[in-house]
Symmetry: C2
Subunit: 231 residues, 2 copies
Amino acid sequence: MQRYFAIGRNNEYFNLQDDDIRHIKLVMRMKENDKIIVVENNIPFLCNIEDNYKIKIVEPLPLTEKDIPFVSIIVPILKEQKMDYILQKSTELGVEQIIVYYSERGIIKETDNNDKKIERWNRIMKEASEQCHRNNIPIIKIKKLNEIEKLDYNLICSTNNPKNNLKNILKNTSICDRINIVIGPEGGLTNKEENELILNGFIPITLGNRILRVETVPLFLMSAVNYEKME
Amino acid sequence: MQRYFAIGRNNEYFNLQDDDIRHIKLVMRMKENDKIIVVENNIPFLCNIEDNYKIKIVEPLPLTEKDIPFVSIIVPILKEQKMDYILQKSTELGVEQIIVYYSERGIIKETDNNDKKIERWNRIMKEASEQCHRNNIPIIKIKKLNEIEKLDYNLICSTNNPKNNLKNILKNTSICDRINIVIGPEGGLTNKEENELILNGFIPITLGNRILRVETVPLFLMSAVNYEKME
C-alpha cells in the first residue's frame, strides 16, 4: 500500500505535503475510500481517503521490530548523482543517519548553499523511505570531521593496512548498538584527517582487498550490517 | 596504475583496442616510457609505452588470490540505467557471471537486438574491470530461466516465505564453490517461474525483511558474499 509521512494532524485527519496530495491524486489516481498508510512519529496508520482528499485516520498498524544497529554513515560530499545514489540506497538498506563532510581531497569545495542541498537530500530520503516502507526518514547533517558525536562504535574505512576488519567488529555488535562509520573520498582521507579521527578514538578498519568506488562503500557497509544480523 | 585488457599480442608487444589507445593518448595524456598494466588471459603484465604508442611487455605481475566463490547472478532485463548500474557495481564487487533473462512480469519485452545489448554490456563491464583492477571481465549472456546450467549452489531470492536464508547457505560455501542466484523482477517471479526453478533443483531463500529495489539486490548479494569470506 502507498505510504506517506504526515506533516501534522487535525484531530482524526492527517496533513500531508501538497506534493504528496498531488501524488495521490494525479500519479496514483486514488479516489474516495481508497486506503493509504501514513506515518506519524515513526508509527504507521491505515488511513482512508475522504472527499476533497482529506486523509482520515482508521487505525495504527503493528510496528516492525528493529533488526539492525543504528548506523551513522559519514561520507564526503560528492557530485549530485553519486550523492543521490548513496542517500537512496542507504535509506533502502536501513541507515539511520548520514553525516556529510567536506574533505581535504574532495573535489567539491565548501559553499554556503548547504540549506538547499540539505532540503534536496531530505526529499530524496523521504521518497526512498516511502518506497521501501520505512517508518522513519534517516537524519542528514553537514558537519566537520572533528565535530562528529561519538557513538558505541566509531570506525574509519581505511586503506592504510589497518589491523582489524569490518567483520570482526560487526560480529560483536548488538542491534541496540550505535555505530559511526567514516568513509574517505576518492584517494582516501589525508593522514592528518585520519590521525585526528584516531586520536579522537575512531578505529581504522579494512573492508577487504577490493577496490570500490566511494559511492559503493555505503551500500557495501549497510549490506554487511544487514547480512550480519540476518537470522 | 592504469589498466587495460589486451586483444592480442605481437611477440613482445600487446595489441589494445583503438578506444584504449585513444584513452592512453588523449585522456591519460601518457608519453613514451610511461607505464601501464595490461591483462592477457587473466594475467596482469607491467608494460612500457614506446614510440607511436606501441605497448611493450616488461614483466608479468604477481596474481592476487581468489577470495570469494564464483557467483553467477541471474537478473531480469531492466531499463538501461538500472542495468548499467547492476553491471558496473557487481563487477566492482567480484561477480563472475551475469545471466539476463526476460521475465513474465518484466516491463521490457523480448526483441532481437540482443547482440547490440550484449556488446554494450560487455563494454560497461570491461571499463568497470579496468577501474577496479580486476584480471578478468565477467561473462554476460541472455538465457531462458529453464536453460540455466546448474552449479554447486542454486538459489532463488524469493518473497514467498522461504524456509532458509542467504546467510545459512553462504556460511557453508567455500571459495572454490560456484553459486547461481536468481533475482526476480519488480513484483517477483510468477509462481510458474519459481516452481519450474524449484523442480529443477533451485532453492528459494530470503534476504531478510527489507524491501529492496531490484537493482539493489545484486549489490546486496555480492556485498554479503565478500563480507562472509572476509578474514
